[in-house]
């Protein structure tokens, strides 16, 4: 009376649909990862090219170099990576891209610091060290403060580093600024190390101070 064959066929069709859905999901995840990869490659080329251009022309052509670098591309990649880490299945690939991203940030930081000093561009740099929400209850709020400030001050550049990134360059940064995982979130503004949560008002004050210092300095050369 019961058509067991039908129950079985429907079961296999359902399994087939599940596999197809999984395949589609994988396909789009890979596409997204490739998208991040290609943007990162593009950024790497841009940075390398600017570096090269800068060393070729030295201080002669500040006008040419500065504008091209102050872009939001790195921020955009940062957002996508963060989203990818939460929503895409393949964590190996994402963590690889994250390492790449950290490296690009460091390169951008070093280059921009050099350019802004040489060309006397008004700027402030924040290195921001965070870790997962379980180990750092205030990191989420600190990120919000930083996004808010970045939106208000276009001259402010924020570089975010996951404390647990397994990359020697990031580890070197941690060593230089003596950052411990118990003191996260940690910020480096100028040469000052700030540990624990920094509210928007106090941090804004400090950023403005950096800008003022630049205005009063007769010469940015170090």
């Amino acid at each position: 009376m019961i058509d067991w064959r039908k129950y079985l066929i429907v079961f296999f069709i359902t399994v087939g649909l599940f596999v197809t859905a999984g395949y589609l999901s994988d396909y789009f995840s890979n596409k997204k990862i490739n998208q991040i990869k290609s943007i990162q490659d593009q950024i790497a080329i841009n940075i390398l090219s600017s570096e090269t251009q800068f060393s070729l022309l030295q201080e002669l052509s500040c006008n040419n170099v500065s504008g091209s670098l102050l872009s939001d591309e790195l921020d955009e990649i940062g957002n996508k990576l963060e989203w990818g880490q939460k929503n895409l299945g393949s964590t190996d690939e994402v963590s690889y891209l994250k390492k790449y991203y950290s490296l690009l940030q460091i390169k951008d930081y070093l280059l921009m610091k050099k350019i802004s000093a040489s060309c006397k561009i008004k700027s402030a740099f924040i290195l921001y060290f965070y870790t997962t929400a379980e180990n750092c209850s205030e990191c989420e709020r600190e990120s919000l403060v930083l996004s808010g400030l970045r939106e208000k001050y276009s001259e402010l550049r924020v570089y975010s580093f996951d404390y647990s990134t397994d990359l020697s360059a990031v580890k070197a940064l941690l060593k230089i600024y003596k950052i411990k995982d118990t003191e996260l979130p940690a910020l480096v503004l100028g040469d000052e190390l700030l540990t624990g949560f920094q509210g928007i008002k106090e941090l804004e004050g400090k950023v403005q101070k950096v800008f003022k210092l630049q205005e009063t300095k007769p010469n940015g050369n170090t």
């Binding site: 009376m1 019961i2 129950y7 429907v10 359902t14 995840s29 989203w83 989420e140 939106e151």
Partner: protein
Amino acid sequence: MALIPNIIFYVLIFLSVYAQVFFLVTFLENRKKIVIRNEKTKLNKYKTVTIVVPCWNEERTVYKTIRSLLALNYPQDKLKIFLIDDGSTDGTWNIIRKFEKYPNIKIFQKENGGKYTALNLGLEHSETDFFGALDADTVADPESLIRIMSYFAGDKNIMAVVPSVTVYNPKNFIQNIQEVEYHMGVYTKKMLSFLGAINVVPGPLTIFRRKVFDDLGPYQHGHNTEDMEIAYRMQKNNYKIEHCNDAFVYTNTPSTIMELYKQRLRWVYGFINNTIDYRDVLLKKKYGNFSLFTLPTGVISILALSYLFGKVIYDLINFLHLKFITFNTIGWNLSIKNNNFDLFFINTNSYVFLFFLIYLLVIFGIIFGRKMSKGKWVLSFNMIYFLVVFRFLAPFWFLKAMYNTILKRKPAWR
């Protein structure tokens, strides 16, 4: 997502997809057997049928109900109509009395005892081989009875035939989306009929062979869903129930969310409690697809929608929490502005595709049900409204029905 909720989530999706595919495969197997007659039907032999109209405070609708019975394309001398006033406190009795003079109408008045007692009073007085009821808020299509009776003529094993129930004159939004739901119900019922697995023999114009009640006993309270209880009892005894898809009855539906909530609470409470009462039938092959498909599917859909509802609430709380933190930390002025649309951020998890598939299959059911009811292929926004609105409303009566079951609280009829 944590592991265990994630597993539950995917198991529920798997079972939901399974149920929808099962319906689709059943449709593909049987699509040629779905006949829709447009002309006047004729029978070689007309069997006498008793139709009971149980009424409790139905003064607004009962007149039309009775008129529709008198207008049926069926010899009036072969149709016995019992109008039973189950202790109405409004003008129902006065309306009923006007029909006393008709030779084939008998009227009764009794103390209020619930719908099943009125139906049983009708059963006691009925002397015909076929017996049915028509709810007093329902209007029968002139061709409905004769088409139903043609099913009995074709197969001696058929013990009950249910009609296609759709919405009478939908006027507002709530009724329009219910119409969509009833159209889907026509499709679902036909598929369950092919599977021999119908679980409700609805109050509006289901016709039984008298033998059903002689063998299995009269109507029971059935947690205020006597039409579900009798169907369970019939399925337990392997009595065949068929769906006559081209016999239409039009029922008055709730016009406000509160009325709809009360009606659905009663239905779902009835489903849960009748299933508990008949739990020995569940997942046993001797009771056929009713036990292996209909009942599990009902349970799964209640669980799946309730689970999804919980997830939506959880996500909403998380979202508000984040907004609250944002406000507290940086204030409104600085809250995130760059909401540029980017395809990258569209969720492409596998469950998204599976949801999409489930909705497609449900929409197919609605469209085909509508084709069976209205005779034409129609698409309308009401389908989308139905899917969206019921997705959020249904969990309220599901959860309340579960709550009532656990605390043994019985919902009122209205």
